[in-house]
Amino acid sequence: MEEIKLEFTKLVKRVDVDKTGDFIRYDESKCDGCGLCTKVCSFNLWSLKEGKARLAPRYQELCLECAACWEICPMEAIDFSYPAGGTGVVIEHG
């Protein structure tokens, strides 16, 4: 049985990715290294290094704007706003 092949990151449309601004702010001093943010992100934008979470430097190009990392962080170390109006993900078949 042939498997359905998928490249999830190619299945997202975006506009003006260079104009989104910085919409995830992360306070490393609050992070306790639990790693939950690394598990809920669809596109692996969070990683753990030396007991602290790290956000991919060019997250704006891949972030789905779901805000799961903000919701799950028990230390409230992640502050999520949204990309600038009219930029970022465009959902065509939501």
């Binding site: 359905i4 998928l6 997202v12 799961a68 949204y82 109006g85 959902i91």
Partner: protein, 498 residues
């Protein structure tokens, strides 16, 4: 400085319907959308159910002609075991009762948000509300602890008598006004994978139906549109989260029956989305001084199946009407806006949430617990073999012997499921209307020796005395057509202890 009567943050269904209602009531209204157009940022299950025909019939009528619409006349459930094998497929279109309840019976529609959201926003604009797109509202303006307006990301202020926050699950307005921070366990994350498909082949293979895949280890809903569908799989965002969202939807793609369906309708993966969806036992506080929350921002989605669009429209309408009432009194203080909560609680929206915790507890402990789910699927499969059609299908022996063998097997398994029934299914009994409990008791009464001869009222009084579980339903002061209030059960249980 220009001042507005009502500022609405968000042009999803809740925001647009609030703006439409406010404008129709003669209020000077503006509403904001962060996308280039409404719908740009939204994804959901997108099913509009039967009660839309009762509450928003003109909208339902108008939506029928939009490109992505597929009618929903049936739901099809697919049960898949732990080896990914399709074991049982059943469906329903409802009974005669459903056919007669609303003008369109069980029929609903599925519609992509790129069709629905702009349509609803347009209704608000036609009613006289001003829409600003590509505008992110990033802060509230507070004075003396009360919301007095909002500020856009560029710093532009918009002052208003009343702010209606329809800015979704992450509600910046709720956070910035200090109403709450994150949901802390009550919110789900829903990854969705959309597929394109051949519309005519979908008509032939899928029909006008929603599909659900219940796997022993994972499951997903399948919402079918005119030229495609999406599958979605949600889970509560909690500390035991252990799976990448993309992997959750990928698992359904491994079901051979799902792959066969994809081949038959020429389905191709088209878009991936993920969104937060509050799925709460009950909504938290929905108002503060100068501001009301509607839709997902308020945590209104249905506690049984997390539908939220009807809830968004209903709460948007009530919030706008409350805003008009508050403005006419010249008082939008927190005390005055408590009226919003009184009104939504008295509406069909409030009724929806009277029986919330029992439903959420059931899901929490079963569908989203793989071990319990595997057992539940096993139980459903055993039950399915007692179904008359299944008995016909089993010609392994004389049919009546096959039936008895299946019954015996089910009885063997019963002790394993007793705990499950007591813990997860029994609490749902609170939802049975007292008048139906009475009818069940009175229908068995004639078959009970001696007691069967008692007058109905004497019999029911005796039952209430004999059984503390039945007593709450038989209390004569209780509403006959609503779940028995939780306190009445608690009082009855406390009585038993004494």
């Amino acid at each position: 400085m220009e001042k507005w009567d009502v500022v609405v943050v968000g042009a999803g269904p809740g925001g647009s319907y609030a703006a439409k209602t406010a404008a129709e009531l003669g209020l000077k209204t503006i509403f904001f959308e962060r996308g280039r157009r409404p719908g740009d940022k939204n994804s959901s299950g997108c099913g509009l159910g039967q009660r839309w025909w009762r509450d928003f019939p003109e909208i339902m009528e108008a939506l029928q002609g939009l490109p992505s619409v597929r009618k929903v006349e049936m739901v099809v459930i697919n049960l898949v075991d732990e080896n990914n094998r399709l074991r049982y497929r059943c469906g329903t279109t409802g009974s005669d009762l459903c056919a007669n309840r609303w003008p369109h019976g069980m029929d609903g529609i599925s519609i992509y948000r790129r069709d629905l959201d702009p349509f609803l926003a347009d209704l608000a604009v036609k009613a006289g509300a001003e829409l600003r797109t590509s505008t992110l509202v990033s802060d509230v303006i507070m004075e003396n602890g009360q919301v007095k307006g909002v500020r856009t990301e560029k710093g532009e202020p918009f002052y208003a008598e009343v702010v209606i926050a329809a800015d979704g699950a992450m509600s910046t307005m709720a956070r910035k006004s200090g109403m709450r921070n994150r949901w802390g366990g009550g919110c789900t994350l829903v990854p969705q994978l959309d597929f394109s498909a051949d519309p005519e082949k979908m008509d032939d293979v899928i029909g006008n139906a929603e599909w659900v895949w219940f796997g022993a280890l994972y499951g997903a809903y399948q919402v079918n549109f005119r030229d495609g569908f999406h599958i979605g799989a949600g889970q509560w965002l909690r500390e035991d989260w252990d799976e990448r969202p993309t992997d959750m939807v990928k698992k359904v793609l491994q079901f051979p029956a799902f792959q066969a369906m994809c081949r038959a309708i020429e389905a191709k993966p088209r878009e991936y989305q993920a969104h937060l969806l509050p799925w709460l036992k009950k909504p938290p506080k929905t108002y503060t001084g100068g501001m009301m929350l509607v839709g997902d921002a308020a945590g209104f989605p249905c506690p049984l199946e997390a539908e939220g669009i009807w809830h968004a429209l209903t709460s948007g309408k009530i919030a706008a009407e409350t805003a008009a009432w508050a403005i006419s009194k010249g008082d939008a203080s927190e005390k005055a806006l408590a009226e919003y909560e009184r009104r939504w609680k008295a509406s069909p929206l409030g009724k929806e949430h009277e029986f919330g915790p029992e439903f959420v507890d059931l899901w929490n402990s079963t569908i989203f617990d793989p071990k319990l789910m595997a057992r539940q699927i096993q139980l459903l499969l055993e039950f399915s073999m007692l179904h008359p059609f299944s008995v016909v299908f089993d010609w392994g022996d004389a049919h009546i012997d096959c039936f008895n063998q299946h019954l015996e097997h089910l009885l063997d398994l019963a002790p394993q499921f007793a705990d499950f029934g007591r813990t997860y299914l029994a609490p749902l009994a609170r939802g049975i209307w007292p008048k139906n409990v009475k009818r069940i008791l009175l229908s068995v009464k004639p078959r009970i020796p001696i007691l069967g001869k008692l007058p109905d009222n004497t019999f029911l009084r005796l039952m209430a005395k004999l059984s503390k579980s039945l007593a709450p339903y038989l209390d004569p002061s209780i509403n006959q057509e609503a779940p028995v209030p939780r306190e009445v059960f608690e009082r009855s249980r406390a009585g038993r202890k004494r």
